[in-house]
């Protein structure tokens, strides 16, 4: 690839997964209790997509990575301070709610608009990355809809690996049932890749990368325009946290032999 790829990574933010989440009804619809005070992280699957994008860009000269995010500006800014240290990217941000009860169609529409407005967008070499679902909304639909909006019909979901072959084709591994991967070969960009976890570890925090990113991240955040999510079509009847508490029988004094016998009987029963 002489021109390299333009890898556009779509990534929202979600509450740090360790936080306790409680749904509440707000004047704006369903949300989380104290949503704005929960520390946020980049959506985990989308993070994997970003790390994979950075890795691919590093190995395909001439490539660049643009991160497109739809999230409340204030929260996004904080997430960026951590993320910007990890891999190089340019940021395009839209200021909009990022809660789990937003509609994937609305989010896709905002993303599509933001992506189409990227001045030097290279459609012919576009690899559109994102998580295969978000850890908040969990719809598993945004990337497909976005792909359609951008007219991309080569789409892959649950991706764990992408390799550029010697001929410039893309070999892609998608998760399918039974702990297996479907292997596909695609002639080339443009494609949509909804990532599962991939195989790369989380990159370390590198202040130099951070400095480099901040040159574009800060201005992009300041430029981020409010975007409206219509939510017209979707009506929630209710959101509930399951009553998960069970009566746990705690066996402190059984011997290993007794426990083993009981477990085996239970498994076979």
């Amino acid at each position: 690839m002489s021109n390299g790829y333009h890898i556009v990574v779509c990534a929202g933010i979600v509450p740090d997964p360790l936080q306790t989440l409680e749904p509440v009804q707000t004047p704006q619809g369903w949300g989380l209790k104290n949503e704005m005070m929960l520390p946020a992280v980049l959506d985990p699957w989308a993070s994997h997509a970003l790390y994979e994008a950075a890795n691919l860009a590093k190995n395909a000269p001439g490539s660049k990575v643009t991160l497109v995010s739809v999230a409340p500006k204030a929260k996004l800014q904080q997430v960026m301070m951590t993320l910007a240290q990890k891999v190089p990217f340019e940021l395009v941000a839209a200021d909009a709610p990022a809660g789990g009860f937003t509609d994937a169609n609305d989010v896709a529409a905002v993303l599509a608009e933001a992506i189409q407005a990227i001045p030097d967008l290279d459609m012919a070499n576009l690899l559109l990355f994102g998580g295969w679902e978000s850890a908040s909304r969990g719809a598993g639909a945004t990337m497909q809809i976005l792909g359609e909006m951008l007219g991309i019909t080569e789409q892959f979901q649950g991706v764990d690996e992408i390799t550029v072959t010697a001929e410039g084709k893309l070999q892609i591994l998608e998760r399918i049932e039974g702990g297996r991967h479907q292997v596909s070969e695609c002639a080339g960009a443009p494609v949509v890749l909804g990532w599962a976890t991939g195989n790369l570890p989380e990159p370390k925090n590198n202040p130099q990368v951070g400095m480099q990113n901040m040159r574009t991240v800060m201005p992009s955040l300041q430029k981020a325009r409010p975007a409206a999510l219509s939510g017209e079509d979707l009506n929630y009847a209710g959101i509930e946290v399951p009553k998960a508490t069970r009566e746990t029988r705690i066996e402190k004094n059984m011997s290993a032999d007794e426990i083993a016998q009981e477990i085996v009987a239970w498994i076979k029963g």
Partner: protein
């Protein structure tokens, strides 16, 4: 009145998979509750045999998109097929299995048709306003909702419905033609672990969850990773169990720490991992909280072996907690299973 399209693809042997039959249950329920018409739409290389197996399902007609192009699970052809079938059926509701093949295309197809698609549906309710239920925030809360937009495409989460059972018979299949254009993607194969390395078995009776404790220092101040591997693999083989793991244990493997050699991200449950459905789950050496626990939200019977009687992972979440050394217990369990 609603027209409900039951959308299914055939497996490589021409049959309908379990997930497809489960979603048929949901489609039929919707048709009955709404008083709507049920139409079947099948996609595959050759769908006649599949059409015959659902002869008793009560579909007013069976449409198909078939041919060599549709043997492969790929976006361009599958989306075109689904789009054509929805149009041909005049569908207002579309019900399909939420498997990897349909999940890949349903949202895009919904968009093409000016409709909406929702995946990971666990319940459908056709009484009154049609509503569906699915999980949000990684299985930490469940929401039910309605939509006004049509067609509405629903991907039904595998394992949430009883597979449809009914009489087979000769079925007339109406072929729908689809222009596929130049598909730029070819499916070249499937990569699966060797049978003896198989650690993920979606249909297993038991999910074995391994926690980070397996690779940590034990009472003697040493790690015993080789013993841990032997115990875990031994159990997976003997019980034909599926293996799940906490995130921390999986992460170690990508960071070069001392690890279980067979553990990959595919094994991860909870957080960014899977939330598999199995009748039974046995958790060992785990210590965690809510984000980990979601990993076994859909395990019916749960037991745990842990050294901490107050373990938050187990207390209130497992049916039985054995306070014991998992190394010792699992060795004995394996010995008993081998008998």
């Amino acid at each position: 009145m609603e027209t409900i399209l039951y959308l299914a693809h055939t497996e490589s042997d021409g049959s309908l998979g379990k997930a497809a039959l489960e979603s048929l249950t949901a489609a039929k329920a919707l048709a009955e509750q709404t008083g709507g018409t049920l139409v079947a739409g099948l996609v595959g290389e050759d769908v006649q045999a599949a059409a015959n197996t659902i002869a008793g399902a009560g579909a007013s007609k069976v449409l198909s998109v078939s041919g060599a192009d549709f043997a492969q699970a790929r976006y361009a052809t599958d989306a075109a097929a689904a789009e054509a079938l929805c149009k041909a059926a005049g569908a207002t509701l579309v019900v399909a299995a939420g498997d990897s093949r349909w999940n890949r295309v349903l949202p895009g197809v919904g968009h093409r048709l000016g409709g909406r698609a929702d995946l990971h549906i666990t319940q459908v309710n056709g009484a009154g306003d049609i509503s569906v239920t699915r999980w949000f925030y990684r299985q930490r809360m469940e929401g039910s909702f309605t939509r006004t937009q049509r067609p509405w495409l629903l991907g039904i989460d595998p394992g949430t419905q009883t597979p449809w059972q009914g009489d087979a018979g000769d079925t007339v299949v109406e072929a729908v033609t689809v222009e596929t254009g130049d598909a730029r993607t070819t499916v070249t194969g499937v990569k699966a672990p060797n049978t003896d390395e198989q650690t993920i078995r979606p249909d297993a009776n038991v999910l074995f969850v391994a926690g980070a404790g397996w690779t940590k220092k034990q009472a003697d101040g040493q790690t015993h990773v080789a013993d841990a591997e032997k115990n875990i693999l031994g159990f997976l083989q003997a019980a034909q169990a599926s293996l799940g793991s906490s995130k921390s244990l999986v992460d170690l493997s990508s960071e070069g720490g001392e690890v279980l050699s067979f553990m990959t991200h595919l094994n991860q449950v909870g957080q960014t991992g899977a939330t598999p459905r199995h009748p039974k789950g046995l958790s060992t050496c785990c210590h965690g909280e809510e984000p980990h626990v979601v990993g076994w939200r859909f395990i019916n019977e749960r037991r745990a072996v842990n050294l901490d009687a107050n373990c938050g992972w187990a207390q209130g979440k497992a049916d039985v907690l054995y306070v014991a050394d998992a190394f010792e217990v699992m060795e004995k369990v394996n010995a008993l299973l081998a008998e």
